[in-house]
Amino acid sequence: MDLVLQLLFTGIGIGAVYALVALGFVLIFRATNVVNFAQGEFSMVAAYLMVVFSVDLGWPYWLSFLIALGGMALLGVIFNLGVYYPLRHRTFLPVIIATIGASILLSNSVLAIYGPQPQVLQGWFDTPGIQLGPVYLDSQYLLIIAVTIALVFFNYWFFEKTLLGKKLQATSQDKEMASLLGISVSTMIMITFIYSAVLGGLAGLLVAPVLFVSIQMGSTIALKAFAATIIGGFGDVAGAIIGGLALGVIETFGAAYISVPYKDGFAFLVLVAFLIFRPQGIFGERVAEKA
């Protein structure tokens, strides 16, 4: 029983990371109808920026953290201008191929600069964790869960209560109408890319101390996050969160009770099971095209 509780905590912690990246997926998908296959690389790049500033240059942790997030905002801008914007009038296939190209470009550029050796990054807190009854609560996991909860509320407030959020929603639902109302669609899409790059970066920064900082961390996280969005129901914000948490828990239990080397395979099995039996996910996606 103790082990179960312990695994549940770890699973939710890791699931929260998937949820954050999944949220970035969903935001871009809703704004542009494009799945950004480089979303995971945002996490990886942010983690490496953190290593550069905090470990290599020895700058304060919080400052490096902010610089890394700022770098992600910049990357979001570059990504939008270089990858999405020139292709915005094309069908989705060229765009996703371009984002795949961007993902390869990002991960291998970092590899070329930094080499294949995984890097170690310290957690935010000095205390490694606290013992609560039978369960050991790792401080970094606690931080991840807290940030995820805070972001869920922030998202709700931002998209439902602020004018900017409503403009973003309007853009994602009907670009032509939004532009007729005087909303600058390209600005809104730019903001979406920046926000989702920052979200992806945040997830990377939070999870980096738990995993190693490696070239592969981006694609691994992106794969899980995408599986999470399908499980939750494609394009649904709540679905992305629930799906991410569920996947984290399933994976942690799978690794503990079934097989460690194949840990990364469970996400795929769950994904295929969902695709076969409930392709619209837990919360459902509208799949039909209008005739």
């Binding site: 296959f37 989705f92 390869i104 550029s109």
Partner: protein
């Protein structure tokens, strides 16, 4: 190519009717020369290895030209399928001591089954699912190759892989691979002109229109995907035999991306492009070997290449060349002459071609169509009218199977089609056009109409491609566009595109023709032409169900009118009487 010498108008198909193998003989002669060169020339080991790699990779990239180029579906796991074939040959010939041929076939079958299964689980959904699922599959295959040491020897890989007795020397094995490449290349090249190939292109251009033209979209996609996987497996098996050693890193996600880049660079739509792209991307890194000294650098450049190609050269090198050639050909080729179009609608059922009873379609709480009855008399023009939002187009979409009916029954010429998917309804004799035109944009007018003519159950075409072309030409000539048959859809005006859509439906010789607002967006001359066309269609006894806002057109063309409002039928009967019906007047003009 023979040219007709006398002054008799010889229809174009006559040129085509020479046996295919004779017409394509230059290809086979060229291929035979290449095989002989591969076998005969003295090549040093380095060149031999590069050629062997280029040959086997090309076959794998051919697979992508089928799935991505022809069918428009993405596959990011081609290296995994390649690996399945390679490991089948590797483990089969070493650990299991089986014959090379058996292992090669076995590897192909394994790849095929894996591809088909993956496709079946995903292809009903949008392309982004497929992209992610294939990446996941790729990761799983890599995980198994590395971790299942008892089976795959783990990261060490499999060495001492054997070749068939017949091709023991590297040189003879290369010749064998070149021969395989030539055969597979021929089949893939020819595929786009077969029924399956046309169906794939239709699915790529417009899935909805493909469905209502009698194509089983889901099955077509699975065929394309499985075929791609099969070619990957074959290529992998040949690769393993050629290099005698395989290891997991040769079949990683990065390699899938390399395959994709090769395919995009050369031109995804054609095997020639695939071969060009593969050759270039194998040679360029050889010339730029220094790039490989920094890990990641050359893959980073590949990634950049992908973005740049997609942005600036979406059809690849070969696409760029062949596009220019096609433009030139479309204007020079003499239009083939066609006989008048014959429409012989089937007559199985009774007086009514279409009987709809109690049809409902609810979207959540909204009753878009609510208990509607429609009976369409054989041989007449029946109009379905109503104000905006009255449920007309929803009714049409339920009739053609794009929406599932919530309740009610649809009987077409004696056959209950209520629960059939769109392509089966088309096979049963339903033809339709769309309000917002849905043509296959990368094809010529003729190819679009050929797809329509290919409807399963079309009794008006004989056997073979020639009959198909003939029928399509008749239909295009019937709508007055026969002389522009070989032009691409994009070069036609809006009104002409609408006519091509009608021709596409007519070529299928439907039992009932559904026209969804055919007059929308047409100018007054075009409307008159449309009216004439409808008369000529009706004169051949084809029953038409038409939806339109244009009251002049409707009242002149239709003998019978059904009026919908708020999803319910408010009037039904002979045209003039219905148009004077007080409920109809108030629905359109408002009541006092």
């Amino acid at each position: 190519m023979s040219a007709p010498s006398d002054n008799m108008p010889i229809p174009a198909p006559a040129v085509r009717s020479k046996p295919l193998l004779v017409r394509h003989s230059p290809y086979f002669i060229g291929a035979a020369i290449l095989v002989a060169l591969a076998a005969g020339l003295r090549l040093d080991g380095y060149v031999l290895n590069i050629l062997l790699q280029a040959t086997t990779f090309s076959i794998a990239v051919f697979g992508l030209s089928v799935v991505l180029g022809l069918c428009g579906q993405i596959n990011l796991a081609q290296a995994a399928f390649f690996g399945l074939g390679a490991y089948a040959v590797g483990l089969g010939t070493t650990d299991l001591h089986l014959s090379f041929w058996l292992c090669l076939v076995g590897g192909c079958v394994i790849a095929l089954v894996a591809g088909a299964f993956l496709g079946m689980s995903t292809l009903r959904l949008g392309g982004h699912y497929l992209a992610m699922v294939t990446i996941s599959f790729q990761q799983i295959v890599t995980l198994v190759m590395i971790n299942a040491i008892w089976l795959t020897h783990g990261p060490d890989g499999v060495s001492n892989i054997r070749r068939p007795e017949l091709f023991q020397t590297s040189q003879s094995y290369l010749a064998f691979c070149v021969a395989m490449l030539a055969i597979v290349g021929y089949l893939v090249w020819h595929l786009s002109d077969t029924k399956l190939g046309r169906a794939m292109r239709a699915v790529r251009d417009n899935e909805l229109a493909a469905g209502v033209n009698g194509i089983d979209v889901f099955r077509t996609k699975i065929y394309a995907f499985a075929l791609c996987a099969l070619l990957g497996g074959l290529a992998g098996g040949l690769f393993a035999g050629g290099f005698a050693y395989v290891s997991p890193d040769q079949f990683s996600f990065a390699e899938s991306i390399v395959f994709l880049t090769m395919s995009l660079l050369g031109g995804v739509a054609s095997p020639i492009g695939s071969a060009i792209g593969t050759g270039l991307l194998i040679l360029i890194p050889e010339w730029l070997r220094f790039l490989k000294s920094v890990p990641g650098l050359y893959l980073a450049i590949y990634g950049l290449f992908v973005i740049l190609i997609i942005r600036f050269m979406p059809d690849g090198i070969w696409g760029f060349v062949s596009d220019a050639f096609n433009r030139w050909r479309a204007h020079t080729k003499a239009p083939p002459v066609a006989a008048p179009l014959q429409l012989r609608p089937a007559t199985v059922g009774g007086e009514f071609v279409l009987e709809v009873t109690g049809l409902s379609k609810h979207f959540g709480g909204l009753k878009a169509v609510d208990g509607v009855d429609i009976a369409v008399k054989r041989g007449g023009v029946h109009a379905l009218i109503g104000p905006n939002g009255s449920g007309k187009t929803t009714t049409l979409n339920v009739l053609s199977g794009l929406y599932e009916a919530t309740s009610g029954k649809i009987v077409l010429d004696g056959t209950d089609i209520t629960h059939m998917p769109p392509h089966q309804r088309t096979a049963a004799g339903l033809g339709r056009t769309f309000q917002n035109i849905r043509l296959f944009r990368s094809m010529t007018a003729l190819e679009n109409v050929e797809l329509g003519a290919e409807r399963p159950g079309n009794t008006m075409i004989g056997k073979g491609d020639d009959a198909l072309t003939e029928r399509a030409m008749e239909a295009l000539t019937f709508v007055g566009l026969g002389n522009r048959a070989n032009e691409l859809i994009s070069s036609f005006s809006y009104g002409h595109q609408r006519l091509i859509e009608i021709a596409r439906a007519l070529a299928a010789n439907p039992t009932l023709l559904l026209l969804d607002e055919p007059a929308a967006g047409l100018n007054s001359t075009e409307k008159l032409e449309l009216h004439e066309l409808l008369k000529r269609i009706a004169a051949q006894g084809l029953t038409i169900l038409i939806i339109d806002h244009d009251m002049t057109l409707v009242s002149e063309a239709a003998q019978h009118i059904t009026v919908l409002n708020f999803g319910r039928r408010i009037a039904d009967g002979e045209s003039m009487a219905v148009l004077r019906h007080p409920d109809v007047v108030s629905a359109y003009l408002g009541s006092e």
